[in-house]
């Protein structure tokens, strides 16, 4: 996580680009002189702030800073990596590069095939900054704590028994340099306000919870500025590029209470209407992960697993991943998303590409040392490391379901459903190691009977198979309903690394999905 610092330390701009370039060159030159055929250097300063509250109490304010350097090389055809904390001198940089070359040479003896790196032109000295309007790290801690306390007070005033709220803030200041001739300076910002409201019925001993309908965003404090144009009204209000936390907590407290007396779902087949605040997680698990090329090839077999989306299915050019309505897009450019950067962590300029087109599997997510396996001449630009001390590897870009091309509102979509459930917000999630069988819960469930919302349900989870599920997609609302969801904590690798990723969609309809009842007695 890094060392704990005072919030004022966040306002220190960090080392000048000229200083970083000098340090980077020291490592690149040392690597080359020791026989590396390629080297890259990442000088990273990672800032985090967490403001943690419950009811009327600020429980903790945590400020951390982590600064160091990771050097990666190819020597004798094999990768080597070394990392150093708190780098101050060119000698330390050279030493790290030498260590990385030594590790590469040692590992080369066990290697079966040399690394094939897709060519990448150098970009010279360039920079990218997240297009934030208000740097959250410049907002006084007191203002943030006060916001959360007012959110908690609103929840308590509206019937909550307990409420926890947290504000997560991240700033990655990353400098990348490589022997390809790139010197890339980037400033990445992320924000995630969340709460969890509990409502209790002491008579029955039952309790229900409702989590925030916010999304983690690649934005500044501007995400917390309330703007009516960012609100999607309906059975409950949902949010686009601006989040009204106070309003959501007020509604959340009432809904947690309403859940206590909601009807327990009758198990069976239903048409599901899935809101983007819910569908992002299903996309993440059943599309994002199975199309990671390292999983497909077996590099994650001992941990995250492999994938059903094997190379022969892709090669066939007719593997029907979903129905014709389903277009799934990988995108590292999307403004406000968690995955957006100018260049990835191996100096590749970011882009947008199709994964599933008109229902057919057309591509994977690949980085420089994988591109040749799928016949591509260049990387997709989705390489990432969660720290200067972690080795960069293939990570999921934003993977999103394209909005429907025909104008269609949620109300119009619901009108045609005879027996259905409308699900809002993400809940429990689980999927097998090859990404076939999954089960998802949610935050809010509404029964749809003969085209109308008939009331709230509880104890709902749906189970399906990835290919069957995406082929049951019959409609996707138009782009007026398009919103992002996502997570800061996508885990992969051993030792495990976390990555932040967004998934966008409009509300979509899936027919005849198996719903189970999760109520039990103990």
């Amino acid at each position: 996580m890094g060392r704990i610092v005072s919030p004022e330390a966040f306002l220190n701009p960090g080392d000048d680009v000229a200083v970083k370039k000098k340090l980077a060159d020291a490592a690149l030159n040392a690597a080359k002189s020791k026989g590396a055929s390629y080297a890259d250097v990442r000088i990273g300063r990672y800032l985090n702030q967490f403001v943690i509250t419950r009811e009327d109490k600020v429980q903790n304010i945590v400020n951390t800073e982590s600064y160091g350097v990771g050097v990666r090389v190819i020597a004798n055809g094999c990768w080597g990596f070394a990392a150093v904390v708190d780098v101050k001198s060119e000698a330390q940089m050279a030493k790290a590069a030498e260590d990385a070359v030594a590790i590469a040479k040692a590992n080369a003896k066990l290697m079966k095939e040399p690394v094939q790196l897709a060519p990448q032109k150098g970009f010279g000295e360039v920079s990218w900054k997240a297009p934030i309007k208000k740097n959250a790290f410049e907002v006084p801690v007191k203002e943030k704590a006060d916001l959360l306390l007012s959110v908690n007070a609103a929840a308590m005033a509206n019937g909550a028994n307990y409420v926890n709220s947290i504000l997560f803030l991240v700033n990655e200041q990353k400098y990348f340099a490589s022997t390809d001739g790139s010197y890339i300076d980037q400033d990445v910002h992320r924000i995630w306000p969340i709460f969890n409201i509990t409502s209790i019925d002491p008579k029955s001993g039952k309790f229900e919870t409702r989590n925030a309908l916010s999304a983690p965003m690649g934005m500044g404090y501007d995400y917390l500025q309330v703007n009516p144009k960012d609100k999607v009204t309906g059975v409950t209000t949902r949010y686009n590029m601006g989040y009204d936390m106070l309003e959501d907590a007020t509604a959340g407290a009432k809904q947690a209470k309403e859940k206590l007396t909601a009807k327990s779902v009758e198990a069976g087949k239903y048409d599901l209407i899935l809101d983007p605040s819910h569908l992002w997680l299903t996309i993440h698990e059943s599309v994002g992960h199975p199309l990671e090329l390292d999983r497909v090839l077996g590099y994650e077999a001992n941990f995250a697993g492999t994938s059903f989306a094997t190379l022969d299915k892709w090669q066939s050019k007719n593997f029907q991943y979903g129905s014709k309505q389903v277009n799934l897009i990988a995108d590292k450019l999307q403004v406000g998303s968690l995955g957006a950067v100018g260049w990835d962590d191996e100096g590749v300029n970011t882009k947008k590409w199709d994964l599933v087109k008109d229902g057919v599997l057309v591509n994977y997510q690949a980085i420089r040392d994988q591109a040749h396996i799928i016949g591509e001449k260049e990387s997709h630009g989705c390489c990432y490391a969660d720290s200067w001390s972690s080795v960069q590897f293939q990570r999921m870009p934003n993977v999103s379901l394209a909005a429907g091309k025909t104008p269609l509102s949620v109300d119009d979509m619901i009108k045609d459903v005879k027996k259905g459930i409308y699900i809002i917000g993400d809940g429990s999630f689980s999927i097998d190691q090859q990404r076939y069988n999954f089960q998802f819960g949610g935050q809010l469930f509404y029964e749809i009977k003969d085209g109308k919302i008939a009331g709230m349900l509880k104890d709902v989870a749906y189970q399906s198979n990835t290919q069957e599920f995406w082929n049951s997609c019959v409609q996707v609302c138009d782009d007026k309903d398009y919103r992002l969801g996502g997570s800061f904590f996508d885990g992969k690798g051993q030792p495990s690394q976390s990555s932040a990723v967004s998934h966008g969609s409009s509300t979509a309809r899936f027919n005849g999905v198996n719903v189970i009842n999760t109520a039990r007695k103990i």
């Binding site: 060392r3 704990i4 610092v5 005072s6 919030p7 109490k57 600020v58 429980q59 070394a82 990392a83 904390v85 590790i103 590992n107 066990l110 290697m111 079966k112 801690v141 007191k142 704590a145 028994n161 307990y162 509990t198 209790i200 002491p202 008579k203 029955s204 001993g205 039952k206 309790f207 919870t209 077996g298 590099y299 077999a301 001992n302 941990f303 697993g305 492999t306 001390s389 080795v391 429990s428 689980s430 999927i431 097998d432 190691q433 090859q434 990404r435 076939y436 069988n437 089960q439 989870a461 189970q463 051993q494 030792p495 198996n514 189970i516 999760t518 109520a519 039990r520 007695k521 103990i522």
Partner: protein, 438 residues
């Protein structure tokens, strides 16, 4: 230098305490050397080694506290860190739940450190990986594995006279073996404090056997089955249950230990009477530090005894508010078992399913501790005391509380993820759908 002796650690902590101008100050000092090797497709993919030594200072004025950390140890840096912690404390809001620091405590000496683990070097790791990859290559199987080792120490001290020091080592190994056609997959995992107990070859042989035996599965209808959960399968569900035994959540009515009409289920018989779960930092198979993060001594605690909930864990604040002893959460637990081996349990089963491990376990309902997840890397049908054939993986929806009421038999406990867990035979375990995953 990453592993300081007790005396070296105390010297640094005392120096830091002397710089303090706050009402209270506590110092945490820890260091370790850790290394890992990862392989897949029968070839090493990544490996590395890191050392770390860091000091953390918490200063307190009244009910305001602030923390600062550093990894430089000259006097000026140490003093600067104390000043910084004091500045942060002055800026912090009052924490109404702040508890004054503990005075001197008596900690037992636990056997958490092993020289053989501390001596691990890159050659050891490479050899361990080779011993696992080589037998797989010879049988046309594909190995993917990970070995991680660590040797380190933790020391804590404060200006009320508390001091604690613990040195520990650990090694964790896991291996997945898949058949070349991808139809079979097997898994094994081992964890120890003492690396001389680790044999990556024999663990890999079990995973190989499971991979070969699990190819060409038959599909059984989802439903309720008698299962035998290997310790690797049972541990995650049991660990989730043990982590849900927080007293505050139970008192607040938002836990499986909350009760209709208010109050908790402490003292109630909630499980089969053969269920006894306790923790003990002195246990030689799963030794752990004798003090918790906030300095409370870790002692032998019975959590569930003969099916009755005997203890819940408390924060110091909540224990004081409730007027009870502030028992900290344990670092590992022991499920008291019998003498039967896994093979004995299989032999005594007329019809059932053997589960090697579960995967992607997630909470579905915290009220009932209902979890969902899937079987993985070796699921077999048992008939008349024998493994008959491999079956397709299942998704389950089950609560460990229900599971421990449907207990048929308990085998001999073995170490799993830092706990001692017996193989368990459970009736009416709920599988809700089939998975095509291998």
């Amino acid at each position: 230098m990453a592993i300081l002796t007790k005396e070296e650690a105390k010297k640094i902590i005392d120096k830091v305490l002397a710089f303090s101008k706050a009402d209270e100050i506590s110092v945490g000092l820890s260091g370790d050397r850790s290394g890992n090797i990862r392989y897949a497709r029968n070839s090493v993919s990544t490996s590395g080694e890191t050392t770390d030594l860091s000091l953390s200072v918490t200063s307190v004025f009244g009910k305001k506290s602030g923390t600062a950390t550093i990894n430089e140890f000259d006097d000026a840096s140490l003093e600067k860190t104390v000043r910084r912690a004091e500045e942060i404390a002055q800026l912090a809001p009052d924490n109404p739940e702040y508890m004054a620091m503990l005075g001197p405590q008596n900690y037992q000496e636990t056997q958490t450190f092993s020289e053989s683990t501390a001596a691990i070097n890159p050659n050891f790791r490479a050899q361990a990986a080779f011993n696992s990859i080589d037998p797989c290559v010879k049988k046309d199987l594909t190995a993917a594995g990970f070995l991680q080792d660590s040797a380190g120490f933790t020391a804590t001290g404060n200006n009320k006279g508390l001091f604690g020091y613990n040195k520990s080592t650990s090694v964790d190994f896991s291996i997945t073996v898949r058949t070349a056609d991808g139809k079979g997959s097997g898994y094994a995992t081992r964890d120890y404090n003492d690396a001389s107990k680790l044999d990556t070859k024999s663990a890999t042989e079990i995973a190989m056997q499971k991979a070969l035996a699990s190819a060409n599965t038959k599909a059984l209808e989802p439903g309720k089955y008698t299962v035998i959960l290997e310790p690797t399968a049972g541990v995650d569900l049991l660990q989730n249950m043990m982590r849900s035994m927080d007293a505050r959540n139970a008192d607040e009515g938002r836990s499986f230990l909350g009760k209709k009409g208010g109050g908790t289920r402490l003292g109630e018989k909630l499980f089969d009477e053969r269920v006894t779960i306790y923790s003990d930092p002195m246990n030689l198979e799963i030794p752990s530090s004798s003090f918790s993060g906030d300095g409370r001594p870790q002692e032998k605690v019975a959590w569930i005894e003969n099916g009755v909930v005997k203890n819940m864990y408390y924060s110091r604040f909540w224990a004081q508010k409730q007027g009870v002893k502030a028992t900290p959460p344990p670092s590992g637990f022991i499920f008291q078992g019998g003498t039967e081996s896994l093979a004995d349990l299989i032999k005594g089963t007329e019809k059932g399913i053997l589960v090697t491990r579960f995967w992607y376990i997630r909470a579905v309902d915290p009220q009932t501790l209902l979890y969902t997840g899937l079987t993985r890397d070796g699921t077999f049908y048992i008939e008349n005391g024998q493994i008959k054939y491999p079956v397709k993986n299942f998704r389950f929806n089950e609560s460990p509380v229900i599971m421990l009421n449907n207990l048929e038999a308990i085998g001999k406990p073995v170490r799993a993820s830092g706990n001692l867990i017996p193989p368990l035979k459970i009736r009416d375990f709920t599988f809700t759908s089939l998975s095509d995953a291998v």
